[in-house]
Structure formats: C-alpha cells, structure tokens
C-alpha cells in the first residue's frame, strides 16, 4: 500500500489538464473497483447460502458486504475530493459514479438495518442473502438509470481502444489497484476470522451452560 502511495504521489507524471488532482485518481478508482468486487463477492456467497444452505456463507456474505460498504464510503470521500480538486465542488450530481455509489451506500446501509432488525437465525440469513442479490442486480440497473438521467462528465478511464493512460501511469494504476485489492482481502479475512472466533466463543459458552 505504501509503495502504491509513493508511486502515485511522486513517480507518475501529471495528467496534462488535471494536475495534482490526478493523483487521487490512483486511489479513487481502485477503491471503487474493489467496492464493486466486494459487493459481488457478497452476492456470490449469498447465492451459495440459498443454494447450498451452509451457515458459514451467511457470515462470509455479511463480511464481504461490510467491506464493500467501507470501500464504498471511501469511494465517495475520495471522489468528493477529486471533484473539489478538479471542478471546484464537493459534490456533483453529474458525476455518474459518485451518484451510483451514493445509491449503493443507501442500499447497503439498509442491508445492515435489515440484519439489525431481524433475529439471528436462518430467517435473517436468507433475507439478507436475497437482499444482497438484489443489490448486485441494482448496480447495473441503477447505473443505466443514472446514465439516462444525467449527462456524462466523469472521464472514462477504459475506452474501447484501451486505457487512456500512458505507460507509467498505467503501471502506477495497476500497482495501486493491486495494493487496494490486497488491503481489502486482508481486511476481509481479518474480519471473517474475528467474527468466526466470536461465534465459536459464544457456542462454547452456551455449551458449558
């Protein structure tokens, strides 16, 4: 992670028309992609829960979505900083990605409210799983809706001809992306282990009672 930050701030050449704000880009986009990935993972685990019925998938789905939400918030924050640096406003409705993440943030916050309001057990696991699946389907549908609703200003990074970045910029981007993904993976495992430990402890306590 540290390497990525160093690269982003010092090594990569400045983008001709965006200047220093370009640096944020190296963090912002990987974070956004990681958030998508986490939501996707959460939905996949959810599907496995409904399909195979094993309890552990519930926890894995929950942790993945939790991570996704954290990265989602970071996306909003970094995106906001970028917006301020590039266009002078902290928030822009014309920024499709930003608006999409806002909608997803609201959606996944409701996910946690759902879990909070239901009692632990198969009912909660299944409802959460179904909701997680809805979330992942919402992503493209929302995106389409937002696209239709506003103009397109957010610079497309990967056009059909290939990434619109020079060689060293692309390299920096990839390092950054790898670093963020690794961070997310580590956080995911740590949280998962922590929660599993919690659950095991509780079971032991119950058994001893």
């Amino acid at each position: 992670m540290g390497l990525a930050i160093v690269l982003a701030l010092l090594v990569a050449p400045e983008d001709a028309d965006q200047g220093v704000s370009q640096r944020i880009f190296y963090i912002h986009v990987p974070i956004a992609l990681t958030a998508y990935f986490c939501f996707g993972l959460g939905a996949w685990k959810a599907l496995l829960l409904l399909w195979r019925g094993e309890e552990r998938y519930d926890l894995e789905s929950y942790v993945a979505i939790h991570q996704g939400t954290i990265f989602g918030v970071l996306t909003l924050v970094t995106g906001s900083i970028w917006a301020k640096a590039s266009w002078g406003h902290w928030w822009l409705w014309s920024e499709d990605q930003l608006v999409l993440f806002l909608v997803l943030f609201l959606f996944y916050c409701a996910y946690f409210m759902l879990r909070f309001s239901l009692e632990e057990g198969p009912r909660r696991a299944r409802s959460s799983a179904v909701y997680a699946l809805f979330g992942v389907v919402l992503i493209p549908v929302s995106f389409l809706a937002i696209r239709l609703a506003e103009g397109l200003i957010h610079p497309t990074v990967f056009t059909r001809e290939g990434p619109q970045m020079s060689g060293s910029m692309f390299a920096t981007f990839c390092v950054s992306w790898a670093a963020v993904t690794l961070l997310a993976y580590v956080l995911y495992r740590v949280e998962l282990v922590g929660k599993r430990l919690d659950a095991d402890l509780r079971e032991l306590r119950e058994a001893l009672r």
Binding site: E119, E120, G121, P122, A199, E206
Partner: protein
C-alpha cells in the same frame, strides 16, 4: 413415518431444542410433554417443515399436502368468513368435493350457523374450532396439534376428544400438551422435553 436423530434447533446462539431422538411409525400417536419454553412448539414446527433443524437428521415420510397443523393461533383470516376461509384452504389443498366436505366439517363442529360471519366476530373457542376444521379439511396423513385443548372451549374439547379417538390408529398423530392424562389411553409413544 417420523425418524429423528440428534435433532437440534438453535436461533443464532440460542439453543431451543437439543439432541432429540425420535421414532414414530405410521399411524402412531405421539404425545409430547414439557414445561413452557421447553421447545414443544419448535419441535412441532420442525416436524411440519416450517422450520429446518440446525443439526441432526429428520425424516418425515409425508409431503406437504399430507400434513395438518393446529397451532396456538387459529391460522385463519380475520376478515373472511368461516366458509371463505375453508374454501380458500380447500382450493390450496386441492380438496376433492370441497363444498360437501366444508359443509360437513362446519356442521360437525357447530359452526354451520356462523359460517357466513367474519372470523373477527367469532369467540376464541369458535375460531379455534374453525382452525380444527381447517386442519382436518384435507384429511392429512400426519396431524400435528400444538396444545389443542388450551384454547378450545368445552364444546370444542369434547369434539376433539371424539375426533382423536376416531383418528388414532388410522392416522399419524403428534400432540403437544400440558395435560397428558387426557390422551394417556391413546398414546403409543411419549416424549418429554426440557
């Protein structure tokens, strides 16, 4: 008909039912006793398939259409009449000669006069009698009754006694009750929880 090994049910960290072994042959009569909170209702829900076990195995040799449940709540619509309620469930259970069967049950359980009145106007005892009609409507192979005498009035209790003695030996019955003495003569198997 029913076979359970190490049956366990927990909701998150709360263990509600633990390590039950059970064997009930077809046309057997199982009486389940236990204090409040010992898991009687949970066990019955597991047997009907409304809940799934957390651990252990459970085999119930009858499909959904052959199960009848009489629960604490009457499980009928307040705003519909007795007739309409039974008609709805008759359709859902694909009961043959629906009209006749409904009429017969309503008469037998003393609800014929009240058949066109909304359940909201029924007394608790009447509603539970209607629930009994609903349970028996599709002639289920497996009858599960959760503390049936608790909310039946005297008339209903008498009718239920009669019904149970008729059905014992011809259908598989599971009854959870506080008052096992009432069914002592009919029970083939007993299970005490808690």
């Amino acid at each position: 008909m029913i076979r359970a090994r190490g049956l366990e049910k927990r909701y998150g960290r709360r263990r509600v039912l633990g390590g039950i072994d059970l064997d009930l042959p077809r046309d057997g009569f199982l009486v389940v006793t236990g204090a409040n909170g010992s898991g009687k209702t949970t066990l019955l829900r597991l047997l009907t398939g409304l809940a799934a076990p957390t651990r252990g195995t459970l085999e119930v040799d009858v499909d959904r259409g052959g199960i009848g449940l009489l629960a604490h709540e009457p499980l009928v619509y307040r705003e519909l009449t007795g007739m309409e309620n039974l008609d709805l469930f008759g359709r859902l259970y694909r009961v043959a000669e629906r009209r006749e069967r409904i009429g017969m049950l309503l008469e037998r359980y003393g609800l014929w006069e009240a058949r066109s009145e909304r359940v909201a106007s029924y007394s608790r005892g009447m509603a539970q009698r209607l629930a009994l009609c609903r349970t028996l409507l599709h002639e289920p192979e497996l009858l599960v009754l959760d503390e049936p005498y608790a909310s039946l009035d005297e008339v209903g209790a008498g009718l239920l006694d009669h019904e149970l003695s008729e059905l014992a030996g011809r259908r598989t019955l599971v009854v959870a009750t506080h008052d096992p003495s009432r069914l002592a003569s009919l029970a083939t198997t007993r299970l005490a929880l808690g």
